[in-house]
Structures are given as C-alpha cells and as structure tokens.
Symmetry: C2
Subunit: 273 residues, 2 copies
DNA sequence: CTAATAGTGTCTATTAGACAGTATGTT
DNA sequence: AACATACTGTCTAATAGACACTATTAG
C-alpha cells in the first residue's frame, strides 16, 4: 500500500484518472423587490419579491425558463463561478451571495451527469443600470401552502409560470422536508427545486437576520418594508409589533414620501451594526 | 446556434467533453455523545460530544487525522455516497444525515482539483455493535471562543489534537462568517474547516430543533441531557429554564437511575411529535 | 452527618400579540 | 368629507432569567 517514501513522490506518481470525473455547474437564484402598480390611485403599489429567470434558447429544455448559471471551470474556486455569472448578468458590486444547496441527482441533466451547487443572491434592482438581456426577465413570486403542497406562481408582464411542490417530512427531530416536484411545465432542469429551496431559505432568514435590506433601495418607508416582509413570509403582520422589531435596525431620515393619496410617511435607511 | 431540430437530436450529438471535468468527494462529520469518567465517585461522569476521525495511512497527509469520506461515483446520487460510507463505518440504519456545505477551493487537495460536499451525521454511539476499524477513533470535542478566534481541542485516550480558527465577518446584514484556519498540525486537507462548520451547525440547530435526540441513547436523565446541551452550546444552563423548555419533548419513564452517589434521577425518553 | 445532584416554586423582566385610537396627506 | 395609510398607546399573555428552596441517595 505504502509504496512511496514521501508525499512528493506520491503526488508525482498520482494517477488522477482512477475515479471517473464529472461536470459541475452553479445555479443562482437572484431575488429582488419589485412592485406592481395598482389601478386604484389611492392604494399603495403592492410590493413583491421577484426572481430573475432566463429563457433557454438552446437544447435541452429549449424555450423553458431556468436560473442563470454555468459550468465551474477546472481552475476556478467554487464561489467564483456564481460571482462571475452575476457580474455578467448585472453591473452591481458587493452582492449578497450565499451557498444554498448542492443538487446531485443522477439524471438531473439529460446531457450527462452534472452536480450543481446553487447559490442565493439578493440585490437591489434599482442599482441595475443596464437593461437586462432579451432572454432574461424578472418574475414576481407568490406561493400558497395547502397542507403539504406548495403552489408557486411566477408572473411577469406577459407570462404566468406555475409549479407545485410536495413537502415530505424527512425526519421527526427537525422540520426538514424533502421537496418533490409534482407539477411543472415551465421550469427547466430541477430548477423548481432550487427556487423552492431559495424561497424557504429567504423566508427563514428574514425572521432572524437583516438579510432583507440587501434587496431594499437606500430609502424606503416602513410600510413598504413591512409589505416586503409580508409577501416573503406570506402572512399579514401587525403594525405596532413590526415597528417595534424593526425600530432598532433602521434610521429615520428627514425625507418624506408624499403624493400617495394618503398621509405621507417618513423615509428610513438601514442601520447596520 | 440552434442547429438541431429536436431535443433528441441535440442530445445524440452532445459532446460532453466541452467542459473539463473534475473529481468530487464527500466528507462526513459524525457526531455522537460520550462521557469521561471522573475520579471522584460522587460526581456525574462528564458528558461530551464527540466526532469520529480516521488516521490516514496513505499519502497525501499520511498519519494525519481526517473525516471519513470518499469519492462520488459517476452513477451515484450525491447523497448516496455519505450513506454508503456510513454503512461501511457503522452498522446503524436510519442515521440522521444533513448536507453541510460544499467546499470548492482550487488547492484544497494536493492531488488534483477536488470539490467536496460535506455532510453531518448524528448517531447514538451505543447502537454501534461492531468495534471500529483500527484507524478510526472517537475524539471528544471542546472549543473555546476568544474574540474572533475559536480554539478547538479534540481528545481521545492517547492524543490531543488542536487547531485554531479565525472568524471573519462576511457581511453586515447577517452573522455569517468566513472561517480561516490559522493554526493546525494534526488535521488533514481542509477538514478543520469542515469540523468547525459542523460544530457551528450543531450548535445552532440544537437550540430550535430536537436534533440532539439523534445522539442520545433511548433512556437518559435530564441531567445528562442538560450536560450535552451545555457542552455543545459551551455555556451553563439554569436547571428550571432547561427543564421547562425540554419538558414538552420528553416522556418520563418509571425507570430510575441509582448508584450515583447522590439522589437518583428519573430516566426519560424522547417524545417525537 | 455531608457531598452531590434531582427537582420545584416563584418573582421579575422582557417580549409578542391584539386592538383601539389619533394623525395627515390626496382627491 | 372620505379614503387610505401612518403612526402610537396600552393592555394582556407568554416566555426567559434568576434565585432560593426542598428532596433523596451513597458513603
């Protein structure tokens, strides 16, 4: 077994082809905040959280929507790949980036065996100066839970994409679920799973971190911020409780947002620790 | 670009060698609970949480300690690899297994480019019927935090392994840290990083899940359970508060543990929901 | 008796939930 | 004035932290 007398000698003679190699990619779920105009002029534009999807113009899954992503280069740190792709897709620096999960199903890509490490990125869409590529589009995210079924609805101006996920409890000591896609016509690869994982991660982290501010513009009203929390958590929050909790995280500016058909509100900024 | 008229035709002609492939491995951090005998007969044996390490008898990192692990096979689901290795290392079924993180530094393995997906497993050591392999050993885990430096101390009957990790804040909106190894003579590869990631994950999850019961024997006293919490969280807990919180998670049995040099205590079982 | 842990009672401080009420812009 | 949201006050319920106390075994 130990036929080599030193590490140098071992490495010089190492045959890297003993194990069959495979391809790796990264997929990035980019979240941001957008709003949808409401026809009643007095109502606040409804805030959504949204995700960036790309329409595939190549096989496989031609004409379906997928997450931005690409192959990991052999001489590239794993985390450099999503950074490279984000730089390509946006012109923003200092983007919040977090590793989500590594998906390694054998048949997840019809071309060959590909393992993919997914990342979640949060950006303030207002910082995007350039227009998106033609094949890219923001979709507002809505989801509904009914028992152990989650229905996800992604909408842009022209299209409605929907899919359904079944949550299967994985063990009794934690609330870990295995997600299974039970209905999907629009999303390529296993990206419906990546999207639901991203939604769940965002939903969890928004409650105990300041992660949401990565998606907000510099100035915002507390009403807008509360709406973003509500649409991500998918539940109404009580005003006084929300303001109590958020109070320590924001700074009130002397700017005021007027012209909304109701009492104007103060603009706030994020106060980092 | 779209020179193919169908997905079938595209796949038939797909050249899978366009992108250079790489090797993938998995590393598993297996935690369990053990205790160390105390010479004063009246004292409770001190509980620790412990990790399974393997002494490398091959290059690279010959004679250093590493986590159990191995290569991902080309036709094997990613999660099957740690399951296969666990089955090899233990004889236990239904092991708690959770994906930890995918490490993808370019030079993390001196042989070649290897990306590794790490998993955390929790087992009740008492269920291990067979003896461990000669090159495997349980190490009790202790860690100390001093500012942004974490010192980790792993001990078995014969050896003391130590390493130091620096926590570097990654962003201002969450408490995410980048870990950097600043002192390490005993642990192979980047496994010191995997170990600290595992400790942090366990420490976080023990507070809001029932994860700890995967490591406990069927019957345990509340004092023992509290000690496990204390050594994982690295802080003393107050008895009444601990018992209040844990009360809903356990069932009191009519068994009693005697012969300890002090008032005997009731044995409890985990009550799953 | 003493050492050591088991286990309980209760006060207090903090926080979350609920709801009612006041304030102030636009049309 | 009517509408819609902004913003605050306060009661209540639930929870966490602290500490003091009692109980019971082996030796």
């Amino acid at each position: 077994m130990n036929k080599y007398s030193s590490e140098e000698e071992f490495l010089k003679n190492y045959d890297s082809s003993v194990f069959q190699k495979l391809s790796m990619t990264t997929d990035i779920i980019i979240f941001s905040v957008s709003d949808e105009e409401v026809n009643n002029y007095r109502k606040l534009n409804k805030k959504y959280f949204s995700v960036l999807l790309i329409k595939r113009d190549n096989y496989p899954f031609k004409d379906k929507w997928c997450l931005p992503g690409g192959f990991i280069k052999i001489d590239e740190e794993l985390e450099e790949a999503p950074k490279r792709i984000l730089a390509n897709e946006t012109n923003i620096h200092n983007i919040y980036l977090e590793q989500l999960y590594t998906f390694g199903g054998v048949d997840r890509d019809p071309r060959m065996r590909i393992v993919s490490t997914s990342y979640m990125a949060l950006i303030d869409k207002n910082k995007l100066k350039d227009k998106l590529n033609d094949n890219a589009s923001w979709f507002n995210v809505e989801y509904y839970e009914n028992g152990n079924i989650i229905s996800v609805r992604l909408t842009n101006k022209k299209e409605i994409l929907t899919f359904k996920i079944k949550k299967v409890l994985k063990d009794l000591t934690t609330d870990r679920y295995k997600f299974e896609v039970i209905e999907n016509n629009d999303i390529a690869f296993d990206h419906a799973l990546v999207i639901i994982s991203g939604i769940e991660r965002l939903k969890n982290k928004i409650e105990y971190t300041d992660i949401v501010f990565n998606m907000m513009p510099k100035y915002f009203t507390l009403g807008e911020l509360q709406q973003v929390y509500e649409v991500i958590l998918n539940k109404k929050l009580l005003d006084p409780a929300f303001r109590r909790i958020i109070a320590s995280k924001v700074i009130k500016t002397d700017k005021i947002k007027t012209g909304e058909g109701h009492r104007p509100s103060h603009l706030y900024m994020y106060k980092s620790k």
